[in-house]
């Protein structure tokens, strides 16, 4: 980042920074600019995603979704935000006033700090930490501190239930999250997010997910435990709205309440970005080597686009899971963690070690095996499309008879 700051200084003022005497002030200013840009991205992503999720959920539930505020309802999230801002900031009687006020800050800062180490494209990362991956999972654990604070201080039994569930959940799922990344780290030899992406390739069979059956298992485990860390269905136990009214944020209102859902949607990006950078090749552009990528500005923007598309697909899958699955119970959540995810991870780590020894990455046999794994993945997707087709045609003629309309109405056709 320091180099980028230097470059920008030269570009703006036509003098090298070393001799100017403003270097410290410029660096501090630059940090604030980057922080502002990241905050802008996180807040807007959370808002727009909330709108898109509602539209997708509506179509899954054969509804239309919000389409009144602005063209196609695109400004719905702004309206919601303004509405919550104008609401009274209510603090319950007998609540722990200080903790109640402070809790949203913890939730917010814990999530926002994770964006620092997340890459967006080749060389585009706020801080290329050498412990990047573990930094992200350590700092997002701060969210649970905020949730426990909020739940405890609300002086409500439902909120307390939500907070304690959240504590149990995060403590359990930190372990499979960390363990399931070990194969990636072994394959890369580094914890830096940029190094992990650089170790993979642009084409699908050069991604870590198709490296071996063991990394594929780890990918699934990582995806599941990332869902649990992000409090998404099927692991949204802390705010199980049908059981605990609204869980830890039952007593919150106004802008303090807004922070919780906003953090949840911003977390969606963190989850999806982590999944795509560790296992799905990150910003690697197909047929372009890293040397040529670093030279051209156009290719760097292309890498950003590739990363955003991959992340968006993962975000979409996470959303769709939310609107498909029911919620697990508390004991099932911990049981799933300790009897399935953790043993699978441990086996997969050992398996990956052995695989790496027998089939090193560069060898032709390893490439063949990766191609085979990719073939299996492709066959899976093909089967998935077949099932979707089956479900569509299952109802087609009867629907046409009943409603006298064609059921074909794809998602890109806006009502």
């Amino acid at each position: 980042m320091k180099e980028n700051a230097n470059l920008l200084f030269v570009f703006l003022f036509k003098t090298p920074i070393e001799g100017s005497g403003y270097s410290l002030a410029w660096y501090i200013l630059f940090v604030f600019i980057i922080a502002g840009a990241l905050l802008f991205f996180a807040a807007n992503f959370a808002g727009i995603t909330s709108f898109i999720e509602r539209r997708i959920a509506a179509r899954i539930q054969t509804r239309v979704g919000p389409n009144v505020v602005g063209p196609q309802g695109i400004l719905q999230w702004v309206a919601d935000g303004i509405k919550l801002l104008l609401k009274e900031d209510l603090i319950p009687d007998r609540a722990d006033q200080f903790l109640f006020r402070v809790a949203p800050y913890f939730v917010f800062s814990g999530l926002f700090a994770a964006f620092v180490a997340l890459p967006f494209g080749y060389g585009i990362v706020a801080a290329d930490l050498n412990v990047g991956v573990y930094y992200i999972f350590a700092i997002t654990s701060l969210v649970v501190v905020g949730i426990i604070m909020g739940g405890w201080s609300s002086n409500s039994k439902w909120a307390l239930f939500g907070a304690l569930r959240s504590a149990a959940q995060i403590i359990s799922y930190e372990i499979p999250t960390a363990l399931s990344l070990i194969p990636v780290i072994m394959l890369t030899g580094s914890l830096s997010t940029q190094d992990i992406i650089k170790a993979q390739g642009g084409l699908p069979w050069d991604w870590f997910v198709f490296h071996s059956p063991f990394t594929f298992v780890c990918f699934v485990v990582f995806f599941i435990s990332a869902l649990a860390e992000g409090n998404r269905i099927p692991f949204d136990l802390p705010e199980a709205e049908s059981e605990l009214v609204s869980g830890y944020n039952t007593e919150y209102s106004g802008f303090r309440f807004l922070v919780f859902p906003m953090a949840e949607w911003a977390n969606l990006w963190v989850i999806a970005a982590m999944v795509s950078l560790t296992y799905l090749g990150g910003w690697q552009v197909p047929f372009v080597s890293i040397e040529t990528l670093s030279g051209s500005l156009v290719l760097i923007f292309l890498s950003v686009a590739v990363f955003v598309i991959k992340t968006s697909i993962v975000v979409f899958i996470v959303m769709q899971l939310r609107w498909t699955l029911p919620r697990v119970r508390v004991d099932q959540m911990t049981q799933l963690c300790w009897t399935y995810l953790v043993p699978f991870c441990l086996v997969a780590i050992v398996g990956t070690m052995i695989w790496m020894l027998i089939f090193p990455w560069e060898t032709r046999v390893a490439l063949l095996l990766r191609l085979m794994m990719f073939g299996i993945g492709f066959a899976f997707c093909f089967f998935y499309v077949r099932r979707i087709r089956f479900n569509y045609f299952n109802d087609k003629t009867a629907y046409e008879n009943l409603k006298k309309k064609s059921p074909w109405y794809p998602i890109w056709r806006l009502p």
Partner: protein, 199 residues
Amino acid sequence: MTPYFNAVATTLYSIFEGMAVTTSYLFRRPSTIQYPNKLEKPLEEQLSDRYRGILQVDTSVCIGCRICEKTCPIDCIAINLEKNKETKERFLTRFDIDISKCMFCGLCSENCSTCAIYHTKFFNGATQNVDELVVRFVDSPIVLYKHRKDSDPKTREKDLSGVIVKQKMVKQRMKKQKTAKQEMPVNKISKHKIKEEIL
């Protein structure tokens, strides 16, 4: 060991099947209509003719038998009849229906021998004041209908869309607002006077 792996397999496969169902809905037509702004066809056409909406009374064919008043389980219909002693003609002087009480059961319209009282498809008659929901169908006394052999009142054309009753309700509301506006300053003065008297 087998149940352990079976559980994993069935879980993943059932989630896969569920995802396939939800994805297929992304390509299927939404089943909701966007009331009231973007309707494909007017709501009156979408409701069936038997729809039991707000009641409408065609006072020109009312024979004054009072069966509707008697069958109504919650007494929301009020009818007054008067008789001219010289000409022996009977008049309908009052036919009020309190829609705020009405539970749209259809017992009154079912027993009407001339279909003078019937349900329309009009349903969205919300007002700010409950009193405005009492619809008065008789403005001035109306001579009661008598059965004739050449015409059957049941086959006549009915106002199923409820335009007449809607207009009637709007008219009543306007009238009420006018009288309320006229009364307003009087009330203020009287309140002031009361205050002065207390002081």
